[in-house]
């Protein structure tokens, strides 16, 4: 595919990309630490991935194969538009196949497939400051990060256990990166948190509106906060995927009729399709329904 006339490769000008790459280098050097950067106006609204798209533009090369997912799916509006945006402005190859991608931009999920050390994953981040709901002053939260004073986050966990009997954070579950920085993992489900720990792929985080970039280098420890007597636990719907029968993937719940009918399917569409192509079937898959 040829690139559009009149645009620089991957939309952003080279000086902007250079600025973002410098921020990325700093971010990789201090895992989990938020680096300010001069976020640009992008041709999509805040909250749709302006941070992620700028990071992707800055690290994208002509040989890269790009995959974009939104809530694990390749076919949702956000994913389709961002994928087409880079296909037109950079002319790079795109794919929905997790294994074939070299660069994955994601919103709210980490692919089920284990990522490799030749891949980069870029997260879209709405709120990079994990302490934002607890401490309104940004000057104070920066000081808390500088002095590693993270007792306040545990006060939040304490309150959750007191009120609900367990930590009731289901997404954007705070993590400690490299034993030093408290970090918001972007709104991925807590189910995905363990995947970040010692991940071979480079993880980059971009928050466009908040103008922050942070990163986790490959093979870095990422530990979800917990109490000794209330250890971190992941949760998922107890069902199996209706299409591929997977019992270990994160599921979406889809209402299929007006009589309370529900279908549980893998939120990672590529994972689900790969399994079905390999012959796995679930209780609601076309093959199973045809056999009835």
């Amino acid at each position: 595919m040829s690139t559009m006339e009149g645009y620089n490769f991957a939309y952003l000008d080279e000086q902007t990309k250079r600025m973002i790459r410098r921020a990325l280098l700093k971010a990789v050097a201090i895992p989990g630490h938020q680096i300010p950067f001069g976020s640009r106006e992008m041709p999509l609204p805040y909250g749709w991935g302006t941070g992620g798209i700028q990071v992707t533009a800055a690290v994208l090369g002509p040989q890269d194969v790009l995959k974009v997912i939104d809530q694990g799916a390749d076919d949702t509006t956000n994913a389709v538009s961002i994928r087409r945006f880079f296909a037109r402005t950079a002319g790079v190859a795109t794919t929905t196949d997790t294994a074939a991608a070299t660069l994955i931009q994601t919103r709210h999920r980490i692919p089920e497939m284990k990522l490799r050390d030749d891949q980069i994953i870029v997260y879209q981040v709405p709120q990079p400051e994990p302490l934002s709901r607890l401490e309104p002053s940004r000057a104070e939260t920066r000081r808390m990060h500088a002095l590693a004073e993270y007792g306040l986050m545990h006060v939040k966990l304490y309150e959750d256990i007191t009120r609900f009997g367990h930590v009731a954070i289901s997404y954007d579950y705070p993590v400690m990166v490299n034993g030093r920085h408290l970090m918001a993992p972007s709104p991925i489900p807590a189910f995905d948190n363990p995947k970040m720990h010692m991940m071979p792929a480079l993880q980059l985080f971009g928050a466009g509106r908040e103008k922050r970039i942070y990163a986790i280098p490959p093979y870095t420890s990422v530990v979800s906060l917990d109490f000794d007597d209330h250890p971190f636990r992941t949760t998922r719907a107890p069902q199996c995927c209706g299409l591929c029968g997977a019992d270990n993937s994160y599921l979406d719940e889809i209402v299929i009729d007006d009589r309370g009918g529900r279908l549980y399917v893998c939120s990672d569409t590529d994972f689900c399709e790969t399994r079905r192509a390999a012959g796995h079937t679930g209780s609601e898959s076309p093959e199973a329904l045809a056999a009835e």
């Binding site: 002095l147 004073e149 007792g151 306040l152 545990h154 006060v155 304490y158 309150e159 256990i161 007191t162 009120r163 917990d226 109490f227 000794d228 007597d229 209330h230």
Partner: protein, 260 residues
């Protein structure tokens, strides 16, 4: 400078002025372990400024504040790096504000408020933190059944007691109190004073107490400093100063107390 080997906190030659207004003029103060020092004086005499300078919150224009840590090493409070000073405030020191709402987290339950300092110190066992919180609520005479209630449902006296529990949970050696009974009605004040006195005596805490109320000073303090326009006009044992005031200003203060 030579310092008494037992002394806990020592200030020498403190000077601070806000523009043309002198807040501290050549102030010296000493505090020994386990004793309570009251700073009294009228409004604007520099009491709270002195407290803030002693606790390292405010930097004097000249003078030194020295603190002896549990290991016996001396620290110049204003030359300490900020992380060390903040760590001191979280563990060895405590600060009780006049308005408990400044210190408490109003959106966090009573138990969470008491446990915060423990968690800041790295305690990571929910059950133990909760036990400590309940224990401390009992020590400050708050019904342990209210451990999960939000502070906004507490009365003014309970809030002040909750603040004290939150401060003392880490067993500090030194507590700074800024008018701890201000804004409370007289019967609540009496109970609170009684509570502070028994806790401080039992735990062997040293305290610096700012108050304009001579009755509070007489009830709680071992020694007293009388301030006027930033200067220490009289200092000594509480009973000695209040029963036999030497300085005219102290005489005026003592004689102006209403006799009920």
């Amino acid at each position: 400078m030579t310092v008494d080997p037992d002394i806990l906190l020592s200030a020498r030659g403190l000077n601070l002025s806000f523009g043309a207004i002198p807040a501290l003029v050549n102030v010296d103060a000493d505090l020994w372990p386990g004793e309570m020092l009251a700073i009294v004086g009228e409004s604007g005499s520099g009491k709270t400024t002195l407290l803030n300078v002693l606790s390292g919150k405010l930097r004097p224009q000249s003078g030194v504040v020295t603190y002896r840590d549990p290991a016996g090493a001396l620290h110049d409070v204003h030359a300490m790096p900020q992380p060390a000073l903040r760590a001191l405030h979280r563990s060895d020191w405590g600060f009780v504000h006049q308005n408990p709402r400044e210190n408490l987290r109003m959106a966090v339950s009573a138990g969470g408020n008491v446990g915060e300092r423990l968690m800041a110190q790295g305690k990571r066992h929910y059950g133990h933190i909760r036990e400590a919180a309940i224990d401390w609520l009992q020590q400050v005479e708050i019904d342990p059944a209210r451990v999960d209630d939000l502070p906004r449902t507490f009365s003014g006296g309970m809030l002040q007691r909750l603040q004290i529990a939150r401060t003392l949970v880490t067993h500090p050696r030194l507590v700074f109190m800024d008018e701890p009974t201000g804004g409370l009605d007289v019967s609540v004040q009496a109970r609170l004073l009684d509570l502070i006195r028994s806790l401080v005596r039992r735990l062997g805490i040293a305290a610096v107490l700012v108050t304009h109320d001579l009755a509070v000073a007489r009830l709680l303090a071992d020694r007293i400093i009388v301030m006027q326009r930033g200067e220490v006009v009289e200092a000594g044992l509480t009973d000695q100063v209040l029963d036999d005031p030497a300085h005219p200003y102290t005489q005026l203060l003592v004689s102006s107390v209403l006799q009920a």
